[in-house]
Point group: D4
Chain length 218, copies 8
Amino acid sequence: GFAKVDTQRKARNGYPEVIYGEGKNSKQIISIIEDLYTDKRTILATRVSTVKAKDLMLKFPFGVYHEEARCFVINPIKTNSDEYIAVVTAGTSDIDVAEEAAVTAETYGNKVERIYDVGVAGIHRLFANIDVIKNASVIIAIAGMEGALVSVIGGLVDKPVIAVPTSVGYGTNLEGITALFSMLNSCSSGVSVVNIDNGFGAAYNASMINRIKSEVRG
Amino acid sequence: GFAKVDTQRKARNGYPEVIYGEGKNSKQIISIIEDLYTDKRTILATRVSTVKAKDLMLKFPFGVYHEEARCFVINPIKTNSDEYIAVVTAGTSDIDVAEEAAVTAETYGNKVERIYDVGVAGIHRLFANIDVIKNASVIIAIAGMEGALVSVIGGLVDKPVIAVPTSVGYGTNLEGITALFSMLNSCSSGVSVVNIDNGFGAAYNASMINRIKSEVRG
Amino acid sequence: GFAKVDTQRKARNGYPEVIYGEGKNSKQIISIIEDLYTDKRTILATRVSTVKAKDLMLKFPFGVYHEEARCFVINPIKTNSDEYIAVVTAGTSDIDVAEEAAVTAETYGNKVERIYDVGVAGIHRLFANIDVIKNASVIIAIAGMEGALVSVIGGLVDKPVIAVPTSVGYGTNLEGITALFSMLNSCSSGVSVVNIDNGFGAAYNASMINRIKSEVRG
Amino acid sequence: GFAKVDTQRKARNGYPEVIYGEGKNSKQIISIIEDLYTDKRTILATRVSTVKAKDLMLKFPFGVYHEEARCFVINPIKTNSDEYIAVVTAGTSDIDVAEEAAVTAETYGNKVERIYDVGVAGIHRLFANIDVIKNASVIIAIAGMEGALVSVIGGLVDKPVIAVPTSVGYGTNLEGITALFSMLNSCSSGVSVVNIDNGFGAAYNASMINRIKSEVRG
Amino acid sequence: GFAKVDTQRKARNGYPEVIYGEGKNSKQIISIIEDLYTDKRTILATRVSTVKAKDLMLKFPFGVYHEEARCFVINPIKTNSDEYIAVVTAGTSDIDVAEEAAVTAETYGNKVERIYDVGVAGIHRLFANIDVIKNASVIIAIAGMEGALVSVIGGLVDKPVIAVPTSVGYGTNLEGITALFSMLNSCSSGVSVVNIDNGFGAAYNASMINRIKSEVRG
Amino acid sequence: GFAKVDTQRKARNGYPEVIYGEGKNSKQIISIIEDLYTDKRTILATRVSTVKAKDLMLKFPFGVYHEEARCFVINPIKTNSDEYIAVVTAGTSDIDVAEEAAVTAETYGNKVERIYDVGVAGIHRLFANIDVIKNASVIIAIAGMEGALVSVIGGLVDKPVIAVPTSVGYGTNLEGITALFSMLNSCSSGVSVVNIDNGFGAAYNASMINRIKSEVRG
Amino acid sequence: GFAKVDTQRKARNGYPEVIYGEGKNSKQIISIIEDLYTDKRTILATRVSTVKAKDLMLKFPFGVYHEEARCFVINPIKTNSDEYIAVVTAGTSDIDVAEEAAVTAETYGNKVERIYDVGVAGIHRLFANIDVIKNASVIIAIAGMEGALVSVIGGLVDKPVIAVPTSVGYGTNLEGITALFSMLNSCSSGVSVVNIDNGFGAAYNASMINRIKSEVRG
Amino acid sequence: GFAKVDTQRKARNGYPEVIYGEGKNSKQIISIIEDLYTDKRTILATRVSTVKAKDLMLKFPFGVYHEEARCFVINPIKTNSDEYIAVVTAGTSDIDVAEEAAVTAETYGNKVERIYDVGVAGIHRLFANIDVIKNASVIIAIAGMEGALVSVIGGLVDKPVIAVPTSVGYGTNLEGITALFSMLNSCSSGVSVVNIDNGFGAAYNASMINRIKSEVRG
Ligand SMILES: Nc1ncnc2c1ncn2[C@@H]1O[C@H](COP(=O)(O)O)[C@@H](O)[C@H]1O
Ligand SMILES: Nc1ncnc2c1ncn2[C@@H]1O[C@H](COP(=O)(O)O)[C@@H](O)[C@H]1O
Ligand SMILES: Nc1ncnc2c1ncn2[C@@H]1O[C@H](COP(=O)(O)O)[C@@H](O)[C@H]1O
Ligand SMILES: Nc1ncnc2c1ncn2[C@@H]1O[C@H](COP(=O)(O)O)[C@@H](O)[C@H]1O
Ligand SMILES: [Mg+2]
Ligand SMILES: [Mg+2]
Ligand SMILES: [Mg+2]
Ligand SMILES: [Mg+2]
Ligand SMILES: [Mg+2]
Ligand SMILES: [Mg+2]
Ligand SMILES: [Mg+2]
Ligand SMILES: [Mg+2]
């Protein structure tokens, strides 16, 4: 094929190669899936539009398409632990990115708790859900605009917080740069950050952390 | 003199012209004060270094120099109302800017309540002080780094919040631009913003708002 | 529903939660309105396109859609004071943003005076309208391009000026950043600023200020 | 004191409050240490210059100053596990930031392995040290300039990589912004990022992850 | 015609004028080709869309359109040397830009070796191809995102590396600026850089270098 | 010497080469003056610090040093026309740049009228001086911060306005970029702009325009 | 009408108000023309698309639409002088902006000489046309990409050069910002600059300068 | 030592490791030189201040310090070919960077021709030196401000041009970013670019190219 598919990735990195669907047409995605496909290998394609998803479903009817998450999945790993990743969003507009994170994490065998729309403009909503957040093994905190939610969560928990800035907002949000810089400057200490709208990357990291805990206690 | 001092400003704007001390030497500041000086006119010079302040004190021994605020004041207006402006900071490093705001407000005859170092990394400190903030007629919220404090306060009060981003931080704080953009993108609604480190401007605005309330109820 | 609607906002902030229509489809907006709706609660949805407005009007025929303002309103508050907010624009292209501000302010029970297209390229137009501006309790000044109007107004009045930069212009206007930075650097003192094109936020602030005056004198 | 020291942080976040020494004078740092000090509490002050360190050593002679790391430490936690954090740098100029990370991690009771000056310009140096990197429970990867080292490591390991961009370089390095953006765009998946030169923050995160593993296997 | 076509360019620069097709319509491109056309002159038009290509093929059926490269070519120069240019990409999404480079180089009479999709996330793919890269007379290295491939190659070869940043990526890739700045900051020394997505420019340079070698050894 | 002094510039450009003193030491400036010097040639060195000026005065005692303007001049051209250039500033802090412009213009034989400190915060000061501005053949308008003065003048006159942004201000003034972009976006039409703090360039342009008028009417 | 048309502009500024067509619909443009229209007044509308032009032509059949320039003109001023403005472009892609400048200048009664596609990549084309450039009373120099043409012209003539950066280019041209900054940094002295793609503004300025010369010698 | 010195670099890259002196103290530089030193190995340390150079000269008296270039050299390679690299600058202020390039090239055994201060403000100076530029095997073109010189040279020669933007200039030069972007957008085709002020990098590249030619014809 036109691509040099990295079939050794699971051995090296713990998870198999993932297909980034943006900018690839259905034919190219299908060709890569065919290169990767084995009975047992977990296959994840992200940034797959509904239009492309139709072509994939025809070709691989045993796969599952998650529309809000824009993810296409074959052979997800079974969850076998009660340790979980909390996926938290500030607003309803951040839910697409959150679903990319949640579906990625579930595909990799993690249990996920979703806590959406608890941004600081109505901070009582966060406090009403704080226990499920505190008890996670790792937290993915997702916010656009000024991203203040991340600092508030960071100040309340003793678990790693992986922050995902989103491009939600207008004017000086600069398509997510403001949320990103905000999060990198968080006055709370336990926060690390991934690229704007990168729900996948956050879940990949969270999964590596949750796995440590799961292996032992799960 | 070399300057066209605006002696009609109080009639037009409610407050007399203010001297911006940055980039002016002692001689120039003194010359402008002499142009402005009358028995009753309130005179305020901001951004006055301790070195320049010594020269001003020699020439105008009846003036007062506020070191942390870097302000030199002659004939401050007497406070005659219980309505007050709350000046809140996220960290201890924001105190200089806060003092510029507090001293400006007091010079203009406002009562001021200072609530410093209550940033969201330890949000219980904010809640311990929330009543004095809620009962102000207007709130000046000052923060560097990611400025999350502003959104949290904005979500808890029904008074105008004037936000001052500070240049406190490093790396992606971009000398205050990140805090500024954060505040302009606040998910809370009642927030307006002034220039980075501009404690003076925030207090000037707050003073115009507090005056309305004071005139009536004070 | 998918959202955690903040039904306690009026108690906390003085005004009920507002729906930001951008990036939500008709179905989602309708679902949130249904969560919020009571006989008396003022409901405001901003950034509602004409297409979405049609769906809303079918569902809530007693609501009103303001096309230029892109606002959908149910149960606006009655105005009961002569104190007013002046909404001023530099050009005709700024009128959409101005209408968002004006309709928001009216929905919250404020009297509004509109003074449009009085930018400094023909400054006699501003002077011809200066009295109605000076007598407002607070001024919303809206401009794109270089935003010079704001500084000129700031220098002529003794009321708070809330500036709204617009994205009107091309080249170095940088989609409103230049107007924004201009306004934050205003050589006039009584100016605070909200996000680019944020007519709603300016009106929200102005409303809190005008209310103080209205309660007393209105 | 002038500060509202957060004495409950260990209960909430797992680690006690840390003093950020930049922009505070010796007197202020000493005053905060006195507020925090108890027989057993671990005290860490970062960004402490050699000049300020002298004052601290006089006052608290039982403390230790780490010069390259610019950290002052009282009561470090004893290490009691063989699980370790790998701290890797691209160049020799990144060592200061690396030491801030390493000393923070050690103060929090972690074992640390240092692998310095293995940047991709001479990639054989990285391969010569790859095993100690692969066997860490978490990796802190530190680089300035273009930060390519992070992507190479990310592609070779199955552990979380926390990347620290440094301000080392000139011209288009933009004081670390280029390394930062590079790392956020890493083509390798398991990478999350902290602020420019923020060795402390990386170690804080790494420590939370290593602790999970240590508790169980250590 | 409307253009002042530079018919003396080959004498001056070694290669005839090239037509930049972006923003020109078919009629304009055809008119310039007609001005340039002689029996022997090599004609190259870049950034030619498939739609415009149809018009060109009708008019000049002896020309060749390279779709992925978006190049239209008449009278390419025959290759007569074994010295070659290596064109290397990090990902599959960089292939369009790579083909612009490869077709340009071939049009100018160079032998080209294509090594695509060997980015550092799976660095074994690069090592599997390192000999053909090392034996080139000059290397064109093409990458988006963080561009780490360039530094790794630069550290392994003793030939000039011409780097082409691509606009592939999202968020902080800033449409190629991050890859560009990364490459300009490469810790490897033998790297020079051309504009984002400028495959043509890289090939033009490489061709001048390869020609020196070819003339002698070819 | 180390420089290739352009002795033919007056023939080509109407004015002889000018020495840019920044980053050159006294010895280098003296060496260039010696290369240029003839009995009649007008010599202008800009950006000359007071320290360097002392060395120049010792060597060329017949020259004149203008301290505020930081210009050193030999053989200025005699003014022989009543047509004049108006040099206008917004604040007192802009005077250094204004003097660079004024002295350059006078050195080139132009009559200059100085109108300083008439910014829009006190716009009555501008109107009090509007006639002398309107009757100039060309206007140099100098302002820092938001640069609003330029648009107001542009809207009131029928002469070319050459705008000079200055680096005066703080925070979002971005060392003059905000004033610059403001001026380039001026809603008034007859404005062109030069580099930040470039009083020299503005005067050079103004001089070419004033000369046309002077030659004829002067 | 919705606009406050500035009917006094000619008295104040020498030229009547101009309509900026961007962002206005045909109805709005027509309404403003009707407000402005008198038998003799010169009416100029810029940035008028071909679609809107059709509506204007129907309503005002005596007007003229210049398609490349996107300008609609009624009652242009007759040219009555041999003094002329030179409009020079670097490439063929800059011609639209050049035509906006040329048509504006002609509408205001100036003679115009067009010299297009003489950029420095083939500098002999510039030298072949240098005399007509040198003999102009003022030069409008238009370029995208790196804008080098402007500095070369500036170094060869003794007339004011008004530079117009265009948004032509890709990657690091940043939609014209690079050409703009290039021109503001020109090593040649007689250059002033207007906004990106602002052919109109350049012509307005040039016209004021050419008029001085024309009045006298024309 | 603290550094992992890359002693295999010559075998891999053709030239031995180079010491970047910025941010290293004398002791560190000396320690690295001692690690690298052999009788025959060429040692080059760049960015060495005069103060550090004194320490190096004491320790290695057989080394040579080039002050303008800020380079310290031991065992330079003998030149044995007439093929040469042309090093060209726009202004006198660019000479430091040019010398870094020239000394690096000479240290690597290349013949160098220096052509300084021939910028386009006085373009006749360039034409007076064009033959020595045209006959070089590769050209290093160095310029600050707007960098126009690079495009002009690129349009006149048939050799690779390696452009070095310098940080010379003020205001919108943005410490070299404007020159850099200008050069990347050059309308001439044979130009590639290195980092701002990176004379070393340009020479390293040029040397690899010149070597090809020298080996054969030299
Ligand atoms: N700290 C400050 N920050 C911003 N503006 C200030 C400050 N202090 C004074 N000003 C404004 O600067 C003006 C004086 O500027 P100047 O004429 O340059 O002294 C005053 O009228 C104030 O409006
Ligand atoms: N893909 C490309 N990227 C950058 N420059 C190009 C490209 N294709 C052609 N050129 C240059 O653009 C010039 C033609 O510009 P134009 O006169 O606008 O057609 C040619 O002489 C080439 O130097
Ligand atoms: N203050 C100034 N700002 C901008 N350009 C200047 C200034 N003074 C002199 N110049 C220009 O800089 C050129 C001299 O540069 P240089 O050869 O580096 O001395 C002169 O020919 C002028 O065109
Ligand atoms: N002036 C310079 N500019 C850019 N890179 C340089 C310079 N001098 C040396 N280098 C590179 O920096 C590397 C040494 O970096 P370090 O290990 O930090 O001393 C060398 O291998 C060179 O490739
Ligand atoms: Mg919500
Ligand atoms: Mg604190
Ligand atoms: Mg108008
Ligand atoms: Mg090293
Ligand atoms: Mg791939
Ligand atoms: Mg003043
Ligand atoms: Mg052309
Ligand atoms: Mg020179």
